[in-house]
């Protein structure tokens, strides 16, 4: 079969990560601007080099219609040939990079910045009012508030409980994911929980949020921004940092009730992505999976075929995904222990690893990375296969 012309045709050349977590000095738009500036500096590019802008607006963008245009105006960008605001939830990051590479291949644009930002955390109230610590993810819809059904945690918990019932996934299994990723986080100076090692006992002792989720089953909702710049392979080779080439990509959106499927869209997205990349799972050195919850990692490991369907829990419990393990998964600590920037968190860690910038957490062999994005309640899914090698 002939090679896919898009394989290796574009690369990520710039990465910008603003301060993450409980940071309140600006807003969603300001974080986006800062992230783009950092990505431009990283790439050695100027504002004038950008001719494409893709924005994934976080919750705090809700009232800012035409988000990518708002960002363009805020940044004084002129003469864009591509602009779009995209929202597949946590699957958007990988999808934006896919669309950027396609637009570049089609000649629509040459240099596309893809950005996410959000400000779901409110500044702490003067008197330590507990309500002010709530994040924007604790919302309720219409009539559901009457039943005390609040927040994304509860929606995911209903699906996780079905997986536990059907496959025997246990609280220990969920905890194993939290423990494994925390081990990575202790090696990542940028991780918010870098100074808080976690044992399985600690996990079980942590407070319940929505059972079966403990505190440490849930990602670290964060304020901040994150941007990457995508350009054609030829231009990529002449920029400041080593290019991270786009080898494979795919999307998969199953629809229906995730409590029935207990499956992510990876089952649709993986095949085209791996076919395009001309590799198999065995060729992957670094795995960055979307981890809004520990449970999401278990499902995603199953759906990419790291283990059989339903075996994600026991697989995680083998503790083969932490530092020094057989499969390096979420090597920066992920969204559970580092920061939550929707799908940009796994993308950014893949770029860091493929560049060899991982420091104490650097995976020794780092030629190929698998990245997943997941939005809604296992509702949307996207895949990237990235490499530091051009082909």
């Amino acid at each position: 079969m002939p090679a896919d012309p898009l394989r290796g045709a574009a690369a990520i050349v710039g990465l910008g990560i603003t301060p993450q977590g409980k940071v309140f000095h600006t807003g969603a738009l300001g974080f986006a601007v800062d992230a783009v500036k950092l990505a431009l500096d990283d790439a050695g590019l100027a504002r004038e080099d950008i001719d494409g802008l893709l924005l994934n607006p976080g919750l705090a963008w809700a009232d800012l219609g035409m988000g990518s245009f708002q960002l363009q105006q805020a940044m004084g960008l002129r003469n864009l040939r591509l602009s779009a605001t995209m929202n597949l939830g946590g699957a958007t990051a990988c999808a934006m990079i896919q669309h950027a590479s396609q637009a570049i291949a089609a000649g629509l644009a040459t240099t596309v910045v893809c950005v996410f930002s959000d400000m779901p955390l409110k500044p702490p109230a003067p008197k330590g009012d507990r309500a002010s610590a709530a994040s924007a993810y604790g919302f309720a819809r219409g009539w559901e508030q009457a039943y005390g059904f609040f927040g994304v945690n509860a929606m995911y918990a209903l699906v996780a409980r079905r997986h536990m019932h059907r496959y025997g996934t246990s609280q220990d299994h969920l905890g194993a994911v939290a423990v494994g990723q925390r081990r990575w986080a202790t090696l990542n100076p940028a991780a918010q929980l870098r100074d808080q090692p976690l044992t399985l006992d600690d996990y079980h002792r942590s407070r319940w949020i929505v059972e079966p989720f403990h505190l440490f089953d849930c990602c670290l909702v964060s304020n901040g921004g994150l941007a990457v710049i995508v350009t054609g392979a030829e231009r990529a080779r002449n920029l400041r940092r080593p290019p991270v080439y786009l080898w494979g990509m795919g999307q998969g959106h199953l629809g229906g009730d995730p409590a029935d499927t207990l499956t992510s869209g990876a089952v649709l997205a993986r095949e085209p992505a791996f076919r395009m990349a001309e590799i198999t799972l065995r060729d992957v050195d670094v795995v960055e999976l979307y981890d809004c919850y520990t449970f999401t990692v278990i499902v995603t490991l199953e759906d990419y075929g790291f283990c059989a369907k339903g075996e994600g829990g026991p697989f995680a419990a083998e503790q083969v995904t932490g530092p020094g393990g057989r499969v390096a998964v979420n090597t920066g600590g992920g969204q559970l222990a580092s920061f939550y920037m929707w799908g940009m968190t796994p993308v950014s860690e893949a770029v860091i690893q493929l560049r060899g910038d991982g420091g104490a957490r650097q995976v020794p062999r780092h030629d190929v990375a698998l990245v997943s994005g997941n939005g809604g309640i296992l509702s949307t899914h996207s895949t990237l296969i990235l490499s530091r090698l051009p082909s």
Partner: protein
């Protein structure tokens, strides 16, 4: 007793028949007139046959727990004294899945497959919440 009252359901025109039935202590779900699929909550379209034609139908209120989550975190001050409490998705004998609370049951005893029946909680003069409890043996 919490100082803050629990929020009442936002009653949309689409869901009004459900809440009107609840006030009469009846449980109703929407049923597609195109293909007969029962659904909850109310929707304009049937996602199976795309028909807009639908009516409301009284159901037995019997079913079993399809999934559940125990709420510990307080997301709203009115629930501060209520935690931990059970959110359940009940699969009705007639097919639709209804999100509600399980009452009269310790949270440790909630389980998938538990047979349940509807009960009605009058929370305001004109608002009644259908909830579920473990099914009692028929008299």
């Amino acid at each position: 007793m919490s100082a803050v009252p629990k929020p009442l359901p936002q009653i949309t025109p689409e869901m009004a028949p459900f809440w009107e039935a609840a006030r009469r202590h009846e449980l109703m779900v929407q049923r597609c007139r195109g293909c007969g699929t029962r659904r909850f909550p109310a929707r304009e379209l049937c996602s199976r046959c795309l028909s807009r034609d639908a009516g409301w139908e009284r159901v037995s209120g019997h079913g079993q727990v399809f999934s559940f989550a125990i709420m510990h975190q307080v997301y709203h001050p009115a629930f501060a004294d209520a935690v931990p409490y059970a959110i359940v998705v009940v699969e009705l004998e007639e097919g639709a899945r209804v999100l509600s609370n399980l009452v009269d049951c310790p949270t440790a005893d909630v389980a998938i497959g538990l047979p349940v029946e509807v009960v009605f909680e009058d929370v305001a003069p004109d608002v009644t919440l259908p909830k579920f409890r473990p099914r009692r043996a028929a008299a």
